[in-house]
């Protein structure tokens, strides 16, 4: 498939290794990957604050970066940015062209589960990972059934990682409580955000896993800051980095 990368500003600027791993994974899987120029922020920090006017120009710039780009799918390694992009593109542009961009948007795990599953992995990974089931991914993108729901249980994140030989997958307790990042919440409500992050980081560390692995870089950035402040014996990795190591 021909895939266009959607690399959110936070990943581009602060966690480029996540984008590099995403590119590598997709190329190893035999896809043709392009990186359209002129990508900006999806507008989430503004719209989540209620400031839609302020979000319009950056959202439309990002949308324009994908309009007319020939590709089969647009793949993004950040669940909450992807959700925001979908919602905000729709909010500010109701054209058919915008809709065709929206229809091609996939979060990386979602893409690897629903669209192009990985046929086989090459290398075993002999360690334990604790999965970070971030809120927007599970509750808005259906990457896994949330713990509150009594419907059919599913977990696309585990399903994608599970075939990796020797890899041991565990979960923190509680399994999918919010890590407390929440965008500007992390600074507006610093005390509660930090307490939530501390509790989450400790719950991951208590599993004795080598890595906290997630699909949302912003949650991972927050958890990384909490883990290092608490001097906990665990590190954060993005799911693309784990997949890249196993391919």
């Amino acid at each position: 498939m021909k895939i266009a990368l959607f690399i959110p500003c936070l990943v581009n600027q602060m966690m480029p290794e996540v984008a590099v791993a995403t590119l590598s994974v997709l190329e190893k899987l035999g896809h043709e990957v392009i990186y359209p120029e002129g990508q900006t922020c999806c507008g989430q920090p503004m719209t989540n604050s209620g400031c839609f006017d302020e979000a319009k120009s950056t959202t439309l710039k990002l949308l324009n970066a994908f309009k007319g780009v020939e590709c089969d799918a647009i793949v993004c390694p950040a669940a909450s940015c992807l959700v925001a992009a979908k919602e905000n593109f729709h909010e500010f542009d109701d054209s058919a062209e915008a809709q065709s961009v929206i229809n091609k948007l996939y979060e990386l795990t979602e893409f690897l589960h629903d669209v192009c599953p990985i046929a086989s992995f090459k290398k075993p990974l002999d360690f334990t990972i604790s999965l970070q089931l971030s809120c927007h991914g599970i509750r808005m993108l259906n990457l896994a059934s949330p713990s509150e729901s009594m419907g059919t249980k599913f977990n696309k994140v585990e399903a994608v990682l599970q075939p990796i030989e020797k890899l041991n997958i565990v979960y923190p307790d509680p399994v999918d409580e919010c890590c407390g990042f929440g965008g500007t919440f992390a600074v507006d409500e610093g005390a509660v955000s930090a307490k939530m992050g501390k509790d989450k980081a400790q719950a991951h560390a208590a599993t004795k896993a080598l890595y906290v692995v997630g699909f949302d870089p912003s949650c991972l950035l927050h958890l990384d800051g909490m883990i290092r402040r608490q001097l906990l014996p665990i590190q954060t990795r993005h799911i693309a980095q784990i997949l890249d190591a196993a391919l």
């Binding site: 500003c9 581009n12 600027q13 602060m14 480029p16 984008a19 590099v20 590119l23 002129g38 900006t40 922020c41 507008g43 920090p45 503004m46 989540n48 604050s49 209620g50 400031c51 839609f52 302020e54 979000a55 319009k56 120009s57 950056t58 710039k61 809120c135 927007h136 509750r139 808005m140 949330p146 713990s147 509150e148 729901s149 009594m150 509680p174 409580e177 919010c178 407390g180 990042f181 929440g182 500007t184 919440f185 992390a186 600074v187 507006d188 409500e189 610093g190 005390a191 509660v192 955000s193 930090a194 307490k195 939530m196 992050g197 509790d199 950035l221 990384d224 800051g225 909490m226 402040r229």
Partner: protein, 461 residues
């Protein structure tokens, strides 16, 4: 309670005692865990939620029809029905009824509506003693506090604190903190109140239109003890409490206690549809801003709420900031949903990470996270943004929409993170660096890496 109404500030104060935060959070999480178990025991749970949501939506869409049907049936059952457009009308109606019967003492079971209307202080000003008879409510009444939770109102107090309070007010032995002994003391104390009361008042969980009956749910039987003793009984309900018939009431009843505390059903679920012999039964139906809320399609769904408190128990922010941090009678997600319009601190819609757990917990599928996000938008439109957002958001919007400016700013930030010692950066990095380590700065952006990578690839070819 704290002097300031700013949620973040109140939460910061609450968070200073980490042991208490952990205790509070765990106590409420236990309720969530019990709820999960109870919900999982019903194979059709998700279908039940869907039915609950549809029943409430249908009733709210045909509200005037069902309210009139309810009134007609009530009158046929000999019940006096009163209509109150707001809190002050409600309080005045209640006072008039009580005054007419020369009531000196009123026993009242749990009612968030009377909290919303601030009925207790109003009646007390007019010389009527009000005794809250729910154990948790009585504890906080003796402690001169509002509820910190809508189902477990004294959840913020430890048993030792209740022991000290009871020692002072009910003369239990000093240092007594055994829950059974304290409950026994409260029971004895309340028994005296029931026997000497002139009238009883309750909240209403559901009002059944086809029957002209109100449903009152308690675990302690305190509402029934009240209603069945004095001749005069009053029931206050919001217009949103209406359900069409018994079948729809049963759907909600199956979920109410399960979702609240993991119990199959409340110990007492009483349907009152008439007075005692020689007694009088009054129902006060209150609007108090509800029809206003219904004008907004998104906010209107908050009226589907059946006040089970499940959203508070699951909320990671509520559990770590406490019920008194919300600047409204009702705290937590549903408190933000129905209280944000009255929030003069303009901070409670932001006391939320939009994690969405509440929406999935809710038995009537109130889209709480969407409602909270919508409140933020309404506040922003009204120019009521907290935390300096009014000033910095336009700048962020400008910065983010320009890849060049963003790149420039971020590359200087990366350089700053690298070359300036963290001890110097920390004070400038605000709440991020106060609680967390700053990010490890990468060498370059992905943009830059990608350009070099593709150039190198071309050369290799």
């Amino acid at each position: 309670m704290y002097s300031s109404n700013n949620h973040a500030k109140n939460a910061r104060i609450f968070c200073q005692d980490e042991g208490r935060v952990d205790w509070h959070s765990k106590a409420l999480w236990n309720l969530r865990a019990k709820r999960d178990k109870a919900a999982a025991s019903i194979p059709e749970w998700e279908a039940l939620r869907q039915a609950g949501s549809q029943i409430k939506l249908h009733t709210l869409s045909n509200l005037s029809h069902y309210l009139q049907m309810f009134e007609k049936q009530c009158v046929a059952n000999g019940i006096h029905v009163h209509w109150a457009k707001d809190a002050s009308e409600h309080n005045k109606i209640a006072l008039d009824i009580l005054a007419k019967h020369q009531v000196k003492k009123l026993v009242k079971s749990k009612s968030m509506l009377t909290e919303e209307c601030h009925l207790n202080p109003f009646l007390e000003q007019h010389g009527i003693e009000v005794i809250d008879t729910d154990l948790g409510e009585r504890i906080i009444q003796l402690n001169n506090q509002p509820p910190s939770h809508i189902v477990v109102p004294a959840i913020h107090m430890k048993k030792e604190e209740v022991g000290d309070l009871f020692h002072e007010k009910l003369h239990t032995p000093k240092g007594e903190s055994d829950p059974t002994r304290l409950t026994r003391a409260a029971r004895q104390h309340l028994r005296d109140q029931f026997l000497s009361a002139d009238a009883a008042m309750t909240g209403v969980n559901m009002a059944v239109a086809s029957e002209g009956a109100v449903v009152v749910c308690t675990n302690e039987g305190n509402a029934d003890m009240g209603v069945n003793l004095p001749a005069l009984q009053l029931h206050s309900m919001g217009i949103d409490k209406i359900v069409p018939d018994h079948d729809s009431a049963i759907v909600l009843l199956r979920m109410l206690a399960r979702n609240a505390i993991g119990q199959p059903i409340t110990t007492y679920s009483s349907f009152y549809r008439g007075s005692k012999i020689n007694g009088e039964m009054h129902i006060i139906i209150v609007d108090n801003g509800r029809t206003e809320i219904m004008k907004d399609k998104i906010l209107a769904e908050s009226l589907k709420c059946i006040r089970c408190g499940g959203c508070l128990n699951t909320c990671p922010v509520y559990r770590r900031s406490g019920g008194f941090s919300y600047n409204y009678t009702i705290p937590g997600p549903i408190g933000i949903a129905v209280g944000a319009q009255h929030d003069d601190s303009n901070t409670i819609p932001w006391a939320c990470t939009l994690c969405g757990s509440c929406t999935y917990v809710c038995p009537t599928k109130v889209p709480l996270d969407k409602i909270i996000a919508h409140h933020r938008r309404l506040k922003a439109q009204a120019g009521k943004l907290p935390f300096g957002k009014k000033h910095y958001m336009p700048l962020v919007g400008k910065l983010m929409s320009s890849p060049t400016m963003l790149n420039c700013a971020m590359s200087s930030a990366r350089v700053a993170l690298k070359i300036i010692p963290h001890s110097i950066i920390k004070p400038f990095s605000g709440a991020w660096g106060q609680y967390r380590e700053l990010p490890v700065s990468p060498k370059s952006s992905f943009d830059t890496w990608y350009k070099q990578h593709t150039a190198a690839k071309k050369e290799a070819k």
